[in-house]
Symmetry: C2
Subunit: 221 residues, 2 copies
DNA sequence: TTATATTTGAAACAGCTGTTTATCATCAGG
DNA sequence: CCTGATGATAAACAGCTGTTTCAAATATAA
């Protein structure tokens, strides 16, 4: 039982329980007992529950941002100076998202955590993720901007978040949806299947016609 | 201070706090103190915290299902026997969703609650909503099926959930997104604006080309 | 080895959780 | 008036929460 073994076991157990039940609903005692680790170990190694939550995210997001930056570097080099097509950008992001947790075969956990990060109150989490990993997202959106020059900035902003919602919602609730789909359509759906289905939808959504001009609300409607 | 005034004040306060902080993070004491109501009143009138949560949803979903059924009745009558176009179906759903909470100008709360219902663990909530309000959704999807006869059943199932994710994710995280959009693009976004932007995206997503056929995973990839 | 730091362990801490109990006020119908 | 039911109130309940404390164990370095 090495020195950092305790840390790893806490993280491994915590991420699963967090993904299953949320942050507030998961107690440190639940984590430590399931991880067969002393209760005080969490506060000793991580300082607080909040820091533990952030550490769980960092273990996914650190390698993700590293790989994603590298992949974007490679992409920019390949299209030296030119514009990277939207499909390539989306494809690269999808590939990176799939790669990272594959090392611990836990894409489901990763996606569920991302969903929780957005939906749970936990203001500290959103702030932490934004300040720590916001720059990769900015770089990506800037490349998307160049790939979709006809889209007004605000429209692109909203559509990117529409698609973020699609992906996170679907993949974080994947187990429940998969059960229904399997029962109703007798079809087993893998994550790669889902990504395959997502691709044309996302592309179509991003290149949809612009909405009709806003109608200024009448004084008395 | 009438007889059911306490009940209403509990519900009004609870829905706001639940929407802001989630269910587990909102204590009964927080609700009752802010509602200026005795702590025991919750258990007296609702029985338990779980039942209070369900009551909060029922106050939105009961009028919603009633109006939505009525709207679909009217729509089916108008297209007597024929197929209702997809745009009409989406339009009707959007209108009904917007109408219901408008009476208490709290669409944001309504959407946030829906988002929580999906993302929070709270298994009892999903089961409650499914068993109590699942039939409206079934009726709607059946009409969508007739409106999109070329779409394979499984594909339509997934795309509907993609779009559900888009809407719930966007509208439930609306405040945060709106702040960013306003800061970056100096543009104030109303909910009706957002619905206007959503329309072409949803239509395009539902009518996107089918994904390329699945590639059976090679034995050794 | 001894000395020093790092990591575990069991127990206790104060505070908050949902729920229950028992007492009190209010108001209806007889 | 009295009676009985309904609702409000304060207090207590047992249980769980994150965190701290301090002693024991272990590893590291000299």
């Amino acid at each position: 039982m090495g020195q950092t073994d305790t840390v790893t076991r806490i993280l491994d157990t915590a991420e699963v329980l967090f993904a299953e039940r949320g942050f507030a609903e998961t107690s440190l005692r639940h984590i430590t007992s399931k991880a067969k680790v002393n209760l005080a170990a969490v506060n000793y190694h991580f300082g607080s529950k909040k820091s533990l939550i952030q550490a769980v995210f960092a273990r996914y997001l650190d390698p993700f941002t590293e790989r994603f930056h590298a992949a974007l570097d490679e992409l920019e080099a390949r299209y030296a100076g030119g514009v990277i097509p939207l499909e390539e950008l989306l494809e690269t992001m999808a590939r990176t998202v799939l790669e990272v947790p594959a090392e611990r075969n836990s894409l489901k956990v990763f996606m569920r955590l991302l969903g929780l990060a957005y939906s749970q109150a936990q203001g500290h989490l959103r702030r932490y993720i934004q300040s720590e990993y916001g720059s990769v997202f900015s770089r990506f959106t800037e490349l998307v901007r160049r790939a979709t020059p006809d889209l007004p900035d605000a429209e692109r902003f909203w559509r990117l978040h529409f698609m973020l919602g699609t992906v996170i919602f679907t993949l974080s609730g994947l187990d429940a949806l998969r059960d229904i789909a399997e029962k109703d359509y007798g079809e087993h759906v893998s994550v790669r299947d889902l990504v395959r289905r997502l691709r044309p939808v996302v592309v179509a959504a991003m290149s949809a016609p612009l909405p009709e001009a806003a109608i200024p609300a009448a004084e008395a409607s």
